[in-house]
């Protein structure tokens, strides 16, 4: 078992390594490319802050699910992480900065295809939008920011050397901050799926603090990221900071800041909530990728300067790399899953069955679906989401939205709220009321996830999902994350 766990972990570590090699360029590429910061200095600062971010900010239970969470067997997670890591590694070899998240989404799509799970079409649309919108937004932010910075510098009249020193410090500061966020936001994608099989136990460090098993696991992942930064990130850094366009040191700083602003403005749910709760118009949340934001910011400044400097060929290669990454990742994942399942006899996905139990039927009918047409499906069990969806489509009366809700109501997942597992819960994350609600349903057995959600909501108001408004969005998302956590922790594995 231990060896199997280590083997599974290795692909997560490989994904971490390739993430380090690729994503370090987003935070330090321009600094190193303009020769303002030594590669070694950048690598050291980047590694330290990635580790800090991953261990202290990324390891809360809220983040443990990660993107690969939908892959329901550890063998599948192994292959998905490996495929995503491989496609990112390949692009890194070519010196192209790509989105690691998109590689992971690509791998999940490969897994979905293999396991007959349904791919949410919005995930694909998100990637397409990101390719176009993210660089444009970053460029639109970088250009005026660059103009303002130049105006300020013209007014401030720093000595050439002072400006050099300030810019260097600002580049290292922005890079450290970016590296911290990189660690905090991405570690779950790298190691999250391995949390349930973590071989570690909590360690008490001289009575000062406790390193939880998740933190140790994430520390390991962060170290893999750091090794990736040290061993393989230079080429991508030079592409970003010099290959695409030669940047001045000040422009290098503007690029990093513009990229951070894009990430903050268009992905921050806290900001959206803050604006909404003050009655202000919210900024629409757009899927963004930090790699694509950095490239957009560089090009934005390049266009501002008359576009003479931009290496269009390099830019074209990067564009091709973006499109290829999820495709390669999905293909590699699909093919590898086939081998792992049929040659190595490993379980790469767990069958999820669907059936219209009386309780599910009641739910489906309550949303207005014609009962008599669905009767035919009652009592039948479907072994995959795709099979059940096709059967529903044959019935022919349900809208797409109703079909996806029916899938949700009919999914069979045995969940037992075993009080023996309460000690493993992250009590700091769950509110007191939520924990009381959980205690109230303790010992009960559920056949569907929605039953758990309803039972909890009935037991404690803290579990209630509120009306879908902009103001409630954050609350509802948090409840949903906690519910997913509960499902994961109390699922009965067959």
């Amino acid at each position: 078992m231990e060896i199997a766990v280590l083997l599974f972990l290795s692909s997560g570590l490989f994904l971490g390594w390739s993430l380090g090699a690729n994503d370090a360029a987003n935070v330090f590429g321009t600094a190193v490319g303009t020769r303002m910061v030594h590669f070694t200095t950048a690598a050291i600062v980047c590694s330290i802050f990635v580790v800090l971010g991953a261990v202290f900010s990324g390891a809360g239970a809220a983040h443990t699910l990660g993107k690969l969470g939908s892959v329901n067997a550890i063998g599948g997670s192994f292959v998905a992480a490996l495929s995503a890591g491989l496609s990112v590694y390949w692009m890194t070899r070519l010196g192209i900065t790509v989105s690691t998240s998109q590689a992971i989404v690509g791998a999940i799509i490969g897994w979905n295809l293999f396991s007959d799970s349904i791919t949410d079409s919005s995930a694909l649309i998100k990637i397409l939008i990101t390719w176009v919108a993210c660089p444009i937004l970053a460029g639109l932010i970088a250009a005026p920011l660059y103009i303002m910075t130049r105006l300020y510098l013209g007014w401030a009249k720093f000595h050439l050397l002072r400006l050099d020193a300030y810019t260097r410090a600002a580049l290292i500061g922005a890079g450290a901050f970016g590296a911290y966020s990189l660690g905090a936001n991405n570690i779950a994608n790298v190691m999250g799926v391995f949390v349930p099989v973590s071989p570690f136990t909590d360690i008490n460090l001289a009575g000062l603090m406790t390193l939880t098993s998740i933190q140790q696991l994430f520390l390991l992942g962060a170290l893999a990221i750091a090794v990736g930064v040290f061993t393989y990130s230079k080429k991508v850094m030079l592409t970003v900071g010099d290959g695409l366009m030669s940047l001045s040191p000040v422009a290098a700083w503007v690029v990093v800041i513009a990229h951070s602003i894009v990430l903050f403005l268009f992905t921050s749910e806290s900001l959206e909530h803050l604006l909404a709760s003050n009655g202000l118009p919210t900024i629409p949340l757009v899927p963004v990728s930090s790699s694509q934001a950095v490239v957009g910011a560089v090009v934005g400044i390049g266009i501002l300067k008359g576009a003479r400097n931009i290496q269009w060929r390099t830019l074209g290669n990067i564009g091709v790399g973006w499109v290829m990454t999820p495709l390669i990742s999905a293909t590699v994942c699909f093919v590898t899953l086939f081998f792992v399942q049929n040659v190595f006899n490993q379980e790469v996905y767990r069958n999820v069955s669907y059936s219209l139990s009386p309780a599910s039927m009641e739910k489906v009918i309550s949303m207005g679906a014609p009962a008599e047409r669905l009767q035919a499906l009652q009592g039948m069990e479907f072994n995959s989401a795709v099979a059940f969806r096709d059967a529903l489509r044959k019935v022919g009366v349900l809208t797409d939205d109703q079909i996806s809700k029916t899938l949700y109501y009919a999914e069979n997942r045995m969940i037992v709220i075993d009080p023996g597992k309460f000690v493993r819960l992250d009590r700091e994350w769950l509110s007191k009321g939520q924990f009381e609600g959980l205690t109230a349903v303790s010992g009960r057995r559920f056949e569907h996830t929605w039953e758990v959600s309803e039972a909890l909501a009935a037991a404690a108001p803290d579990w209630r999902i509120l009306e879908q408004t902009m103001l409630n969005k954050k609350h509802n998302k948090e409840i949903q994350e906690k519910l997913d956590y509960i499902y994961l922790m109390f699922s009965l594995e067959e």
């Binding site: 303009t34 009249k157 050439l160 050397l161 002072r162």
Partner: protein, 231 residues
Amino acid sequence: MRPSIGGEREDKFVTKSSPLFKRTRLLEGQIDEFLDKISEAGLIFQRALKIYLEKGPCEEFESSARNVNEVESRGDDLRRTIEMQLYEQTLIPDLRGDVLSLLEDLDYLMNIYQANCYRFSIESPDIPDEFHRDFMDLVETVVTCVDTVVMSARAFFRNIDAVRDHNSKVMFYETEADKISTKLKRGIFASDLPKVEKLHLRYFVDQVDELANEAEDIADALAIYTIKRSL
């Protein structure tokens, strides 16, 4: 107005609040001092030539010439220290080459001051009274020209908008110096002096005028560096 090395008041502030940038301020001070040395060498050179014209080769002239020599050697030391630091600390990676060339070129101006002093000391040219006024005019103009290019270099470090203004003055003084030297040379060759003395005097006029030509070249280079810096 210019701070001494780093500016004493500023230095105290730096030590207390931001030791991080202390080295930077020290280096800024050294660059300022290096530029000061060029102006200083010019002023001493001008005084030395004035003494030479008034009193001929004498101990007072020799003493001033030695002064130019000392200033030049201090300037050399500063230039080397600055260059070493720029390299060792890998400062201003995008403009380091430009700054190093600028420092070398400016240093060359001091070398010309020094070399001219040596020439006067060794060759002791006999300059007839009728040319004294024009000769002194030439010296004053080239020294002003060099001073202006030093201001331009200072502006390149601190306020690039001003480089253009200073550069246009450099061009003006260079043209003035050319006019004066041409006038001088015409006068020399139209005089009754023996041919060999005419050639000797022309050589000295050319060597002094060289300062203005060199200053103009530096101003041209500065104009390019400034464009690069503002990109």
